[in-house]
Amino acid sequence: MRASAQPDRRGYFGAFGGRFVPEVLAFALDELESAVDAAFADDAFWSDFHGLLCSYVGRPSPVYRARRFERCAPVVVKREDLNHTGSHKINNTLGQALLARRMGKERLIAETGAGQHGVATATVGAKFGFPVDVYMGARDVERQEPNVALMRMLGARVHSVTSGTQTLKDATNEAFRVWAAEVERTFYVIGSVVGAHPYPYMVREFQRVIGDEARRQCLEEHGRLPSDVVACVGGGSNAIGIFTAFLGDDVRLWGVEAAGKGTQSGETAASLSAGSIGVLHGSRSYLLQTADGQVCETHSVSAGLDYPGVGPEHAYLKESGRATYVSVRDDEALTAFHDFAAAEGIVPALESAHALAFARTLSRERNSSDLVLVNLSGRGDKDLAYVRGLSSGA
């Protein structure tokens, strides 16, 4: 059993998490929880998982020192961009597909914003022979056309969601509704450490491989633990994935949210920095909402961070002080995007560029004996057209 102390039996990380869903889904979550407990206690499950992470995903992903990008303290990046499908999302979808197969489910559904999680779900759907339905906000379908084409190429059906703000929040609502209607045969592959218990816990256990590897790689290749670990936070899965291995170490953990046009601008996606406590998509956590409790529309230059909620474990790490959450604006992330590409020959995802922007600031403040580890959660090919559109429009 690889479970750590959090969450508790009700799925709470301190005061955050839990299970706030319509009754029709309670049974499915119980069923999933039992399946997760059994699978996680089964060495054969982990050996299938780690075998595929190696042969299919291409793990372990290297850590690479970004010498021309760093300032004073060395910056090393964990190369999740080199994974099959180009981001950390595949670690999670592979794990959930293995579980779905164990549970005898017949099809997969997923929500997606930027399309990275949708692509990663479509990919494992093809690999394991599951039909896949992906729900995507109508605005995102337009913004992320290449990923829509990719999902369709992989055999997934992409459904354009026209309710509400027509973005990731509404795509997630729709996936929950579809799940409620076909809960017995359908497995809902959630894309981050969000949702009702056991999702935040389960997804963490699939993503923690990032930090488990990186911790070992820092010790082996750099002879020390990092002084700081930095990751961008949308729902929070790549951040939890790299943080978990370091929770017991004397290492500072930094979550970087998308400030959008600024945390006080009203056009932001920084739930922990600018939000308040509430309940969204099945768990209690921080969220961007009005005083009445209506969930706000968000803004970020990166579609993968454009989400009003955040995983409950991050709320807990914030309240307990174990991790610190900062935010980076659109313009700062775009600068880091261009600078990192020019300095290192690696085009980062716009999401990851938020983490890189903050890591460079840290590198300036830290000593050369420190070590700043950054999760490079994905590659930026998907963002090229968008970023080029921005610079030609300027």
Binding site: F27, G278, V295
Partner: protein, 262 residues
């Protein structure tokens, strides 16, 4: 309060519980329609509090909530509407938990009861989270009807029935609210028989009830039936007296001989 609700539901069998989205298309229309359904024979009224992310609702109710939100309808407006209707008909709010959380759990229970609200259904608070919410409702005398779904195992359904107050909301089929699919009558009959052993509360069937046929199908074993999406569909795009007329027509169709005339 919950006893007034219970006895209202026992006056007719099956009792008619309409669901209206407060503020769709405006609060005046909701109020007029509420009086109309009462006059047609409704035993109690479910008032939806508009929310932008209604996970348990299908397109009709989600869109009605969106229209109400665009008119600026807030929890305090819904409570004010409830207090205007309190003498006419027992009222149960249908509200997602985040709205209650933001209002303040204790303050919500207190203000709801002060506004004459008999109970509140919070669809995303199930057994797992009930201990944080129900004692506060109970302390203030606010009933909390709970939902039982087709996927709810028998033992869990029994626990839910024993912990509910006001009535038990028996969800007639998988999925979300909406008028499209018919209730699964055989499964419902069995589930209701099981629930009778756990509780003496009225058992109300809802989700998908939209025609006289549906009502007749559940009437032999249900104490009450809830009609939401079909009503909202019936008067969407209209307001005022026009909306009232359309609702009366639907109530006439649903209630048949027990229709009281508007």
């Amino acid at each position: 309060m919950s006893s007034r609700l219970e006895s209202a539901l026992r006056k007719h069998k099956p009792a008619f519980i309409p669901y209206l989205m407060a503020g769709d298309p405006d609060l005046e229309t909701t109020e007029a329609v509420a009086h109309a359904v009462r006059a047609c024979g409704a035993a109690a009224l479910e008032l939806g509090v508009p929310y932008g992310d209604p996970l348990a609702d299908g397109p009709t109710i989600a869109a009605a909530g969106q229209r109400a939100l665009e008119r600026g309808t807030r929890m305090c407006d819904v409570l004010a509407l409830a207090s205007r209707l309190r003498d006419a008909i027992p009222i149960v709010l249908f509200t997602y938990y985040n709205l209650v959380h933001a209002y303040g759990l204790e303050l919500f229970a207190q203000d709801a009861v002060r506004s004459g609200v008999a109970g509140a259904i919070v669809p995303d608070v199930t057994l797992e989270e009930l201990d944080d919410v129900q004692p506060i409702f109970e302390k203030h005398g606010l009933a909390m009807p709970l939902l039982v779904a087709p996927t709810t195992p028998a033992q869990r359904a029994g626990t839910i029935a024993r912990r509910a107050s006001g009535f038990v909301y028996v969800v007639s089929r998988l999925g979300v609210t909406g008028a499209s699919a018919a209730p699964n009558v055989d499964a419902l009959r069995g589930q209701i028989a099981g629930l009778r052993e756990a509780t003496r509360l009225p058992l109300a069937v809802g989700f998908g009830i939209s025609t006289r046929k549906h009502v007749e199908a559940v009437a032999p074993f249900a104490d009450a039936f809830i009609v939401g999406s079909a009503l909202i569909d019936a008067y969407s795009g209209t307001s005022g007296a026009d909306a009232v007329r359309r609702v009366e027509l639907l109530a006439y169709e649903l209630l048949g001989s027990s229709f009281r005339g508007g």
